[in-house]
Symmetry: C2
Subunit: 256 residues, 2 copies
């Protein structure tokens, strides 16, 4: 039975893609069969794992617009145990189609259900908006992992996102849990980071991961190489932090 | 005749709000009558200028959903010559209404037209998505200012945004120009930043602003005080860079 985790926040640039890619890679390295689904038309997660946007391959487009089974869009990566459903909405000139049609928000949920026995974790990267694609991820997920950049705007936008999660829980996905809040791009030297952290832990206690992701150049440079940080520079602080996060998530699951 | 500039990019966290707020404040300090319109439901620009989200005031909601004239939603700020139309979509629980209705994308354009003689600059902050609110900004604008974070994902997502601008130009706003590309959160020490900058200047030449916005803690800390960087810490590198940017935009306009 796969644990389906949506990595989501409507605030932009808080580390959703960096988390989805590096958490998936870390789970795979820990020998958990993992599938990463890229629901963001920007296709940053796809590119980070070397899926060149100019090539045509099956992906998320076929699931949403052609109602094909998800299994037809799955691709291997260089990393054992890591598989990807890339985003190919732009390469199919379909962004308008997606925006216009009132997507059936349970479509993704139904198509990943058939993969439940093949994977231990299904990680979904979502775009920074309240649109159909993000809501589809929240409907399909067992839980949502919310990256929180330790800065003012990210913390301010946070309450809106919690309200959205509650609305999805009340309407379409009553079992949606919060996997946890993850502090990202944490810079020890700024007082802002410490203020956001202490406020977050005060309000949400154990829901905040012990693991904090530091600001680490390797995490910003790895995507250009088409590799996750663990294979680009395994000893970097960023890569090590995501390995710790994977460990924390696996341990929490065992004790549920 | 107001110059209407949309600050936009579908990539999240690249400095759209930081640019919209600090450029508007710098133009006002340079004695140009300036109106900032916050089209992002996250309302980060509104909060950065001390519009508390718990209070109810007229804003963008009345323009889009009640078709009221824009002049009824304009508020003064502490800074002379700087006015704001705040975002109040969330405080009206209207995010679903906005997502569901097929907003008339020319609504904003028609309502800001009546303000043409009152302001020299109208700056629009937009959300990180391809939805109605961002497209409305591109339809209403004379030009678009595109922040580019000097990092891999931001540079990769860039080509998609240029295609969107061209589509809007071909369909609804044939006069839409590119005001310029602005390098943001520039960290001298990383080779990634230098690589993105030299590639951007090679491809787009004069369209790339000479002014580069450095990574500056004052820009990240100012929003918590409800003030733009120029009044929060006027001597900071961030505040000075946005003053230079305002100067560059005013000079370019003169020489058109
Ligand atoms: N811990 C970190 N240290 C240094 N850089 C980071 C870190 N995490 C993310 N980044 C960089 O910060 C930028 C924003 O991160 P990312 O693109 O993952 O955020 P996002 O939430 O997915 O953005 P979007 O809202 O556009 O989807 C990227 O350039 C990324 O490489
Ligand atoms: N030059 C800078 N130096 C330091 N921090 C910066 C700078 N510019 C922006 N920031 C910080 O980086 C974060 C992202 O910036 P900002 O919120 O302005 O981006 P955005 O593009 O408006 O994001 P969104 O896509 O969510 O609308 C914020 O926390 C902001 O305070
Ligand atoms: Mg992303
Ligand atoms: Mg913003």
């Amino acid at each position: 039975m796969a644990r389906k985790i949506a990595v989501a926040s409507q605030k932009g640039g808080v580390g959703k893609t960096t988390t989805a890619v590096n958490l998936s890679a870390s789970l795979a390295v820990a020998e958990k069969n993992t599938l990463l689904v890229d629901l963001d038309p920007q296709a940053c997660a796809s590119v980070a794992l070397d899926f060149n946007q100019d090539l045509l391959y099956r992906g998320v487009y076929e699931i949403f617009m052609r109602n094909f089974p998800a299994s037809g869009s799955i691709h291997e990566t260089e990393i054992p145990n890591l598989y990807v459903i890339p985003n190919n909405i732009w390469s199919n000139n379909a962004e308008d189609e997606i925006m216009r049609t009132s997507l059936n928000r349970t479509m993704l949920a139904r198509s990943v259900e058939e993969l439940d026995d093949d994977y231990e974790y299904i990680i979904m990267d979502s775009p920074p908006s309240m649109g159909h694609l993000m809501v589809s991820a929240l409907v399909a997920a067992d839980s949502v992992l919310i990256p929180v950049q330790a800065e003012f705007y990210s913390y301010h936008a946070f309450d809106q996102f919690i309200r959205l999660v509650k609305t999805v829980r009340l309407s379409v996905n009553p079992d949606l849990e919060i996997e946890g809040f993850l502090l990202t791009m944490y810079d020890e030297r700024t007082k802002l980071a410490h203020e956001v952290e202490s406020d977050l832990r005060r309000r949400f206690g154990r829901l905040v991961f012990k693991t904090v992701i530091p600001r680490s150049v390797a995490l910003a440079e790895a995507p250009a190489s088409g590799k996750p940080a663990i294979t680009f520079d395994g000893r970097s602080a960023g890569a090590q932090a995501y390995m710790r996060l994977a460990g924390e998530i696996v341990r929490r699951r065992r004790s549920r």
